[in-house]
């Protein structure tokens, strides 16, 4: 709105510099005082000095399953990096409850843990098998319950084959391939002896790598290596005899270990996922009770190389 007016109608405006300085000075002093008070309360303790990172569910490169408990390696790696760059964090406690999953996803987590300079301690809850155990094996000390499921150090890439079914229903699979083995492992092609041998060799070489990693991390003997190479899972009791875990215990024991090892009073900084709509939904059907079963089913029904 434009209003033409006379000079005399405009009130004489004089910017009172003294009042302005007074306001600025007062605000600056209050800010300075408040920051000094807040600073005195902010110390290492208020942030937490030990990161608690859960590795729970099927380990995948990306978490994309609505109805099962999955652990995305991208998210976990980010959490490990956050803990690593946080100067307040002195140790990382891994809460492992996983049957493994994607070999690549497990390795991503393992590499992130190997790159950190923090003390790592792991405790296995219901299950720390395969890729889940690989992650735990990077820890300086592993705790597990006597009844935990530990081990299962093997690799598989099983898949269903439908070639017989297609023949039964007179469905033809038009195989158009450039490169003899391009569609090796396709569920629509019968696996011949050569293809099976090739796939088995690849799985064997991955298994050797996986075993070497575990043996290195846990400093195991060649006899134990041979024993665990079967891919069998063990109870916590058996795992301790084999040297796959160090002690029986849970989160409290892991905290005690960190306190003694680093001579600090542990204050946990949790890196647990925030509860979203999916978790709330699943909470109603008590999904956790069936998580082990659903993890196994998901693992066996998905394609790719699994640890």
């Amino acid at each position: 709105m434009v209003k033409l007016t006379n000079n005399k109608d405009i009130p004489k405006r004089k910017f009172n510099i003294l009042t302005a300085i007074k306001i600025v000075f007062m605000l600056f002093i209050i800010s300075w005082l408040l920051s000094a008070i807040i600073s005195s309360f902010v110390n290492e303790e208020s942030f937490g000095n030990t990161a608690l990172i859960p590795i729970s569910g099927l380990i995948l490169t990306r978490s994309n399953n609505l109805f099962s408990d999955t652990a995305s390696s991208s998210v976990i790696v980010e959490k490990i990096k956050s803990a690593s760059i946080d100067s307040n964090i002195k140790a990382i406690i891994l809460e492992v409850n996983s049957v493994g999953g994607s070999a690549v996803a497990s390795e991503e987590i393992v590499q992130a843990l190997e790159n950190t300079n923090k003390t790592i301690v792991a405790f296995i809850r219901d299950v720390g098998a395969s890729g889940g155990y690989w992650v735990a094996s990077t820890a300086k000390h592993i705790f597990a319950s006597r009844m935990s499921i530990v081990g299962s150090i093997g690799v598989f890439s099983s898949y269903p084959e439908f070639s017989g079914l297609l023949n039964k229903y007179n469905v033809t699979y038009n195989r158009l391939v450039a490169g003899e083995y391009k569609d090796i492992g396709s569920p629509f092609v019968e696996l011949d002896e050569t293809a099976e041998k090739i796939l088995q060799e690849k799985i064997n070489s991955l298994h050797e790598y996986f075993l070497d990693e575990i043996v290195d991390n846990r400093n195991l003997s060649s006899e134990i290596r041979k024993e665990i190479a079967t891919g069998l899972f063990y109870t916590g009791l058996e795992a301790k005899d084999l040297g796959l875990i160090d002690s029986f215990g849970s989160k409290e024991n892991a905290i005690d270990f960190v306190e003694k090892e680093l001579n600090i009073t542990v204050k946990i900084k949790s890196y647990e996922d925030k509860q979203g709509f999916r978790e709330l939904l699943l909470g109603f059907v008590n999904q956790k009770d069936f998580s082990f079963l659903s993890q196994e089913l998901n693992l066996k029904n998905s394609y790719g190389i699994k640890t």
Binding site: K3, L4, T19, A20, V42, E78, S87
Partner: protein
Amino acid sequence: MMNLNLPKERVVKKDASIIKRFLALLIDILAINLFIISPFQKVFLKFFNQDASIMQNISLLESVSTTTLYITMFSVIVLALLYFALFEYKLSQTIGMMIMKIYVEGEISFWKAVIRNMFIIPFFPFYILWVVDPIHLFFRGKRFSEEMTKTRTVEIIKW
């Protein structure tokens, strides 16, 4: 001395231009940064890691969730609100407005000045004003908060 018969000085009072208001706000943000936020730098440095990326700092911040962080944020917001409210209540002008030669017109009490500047509170429902105020300003020539407090921001042009 020769007397020139020049036309009298003409004065126009009009709603302050959007550009002038925007520049005044920018100057005020700079002033707030200098006088209010900078003393808190020591505290903020404890929350953020300078070696980390922005995304890593955000995830660090998410995992902190301490009351200290909220107290710090609350203090800064209240002080920034006080900056605008006190200047407008006492002088009808903030530092930015003074530089851009615009001022608040209308009967202004302290609480009116607070209501006028509630847009700086970054919580619901106040951040709705980030959308409502500019739209109102664009179409009606004054912010929605100004409409509520029956005040307006004006400039005086003399020639």
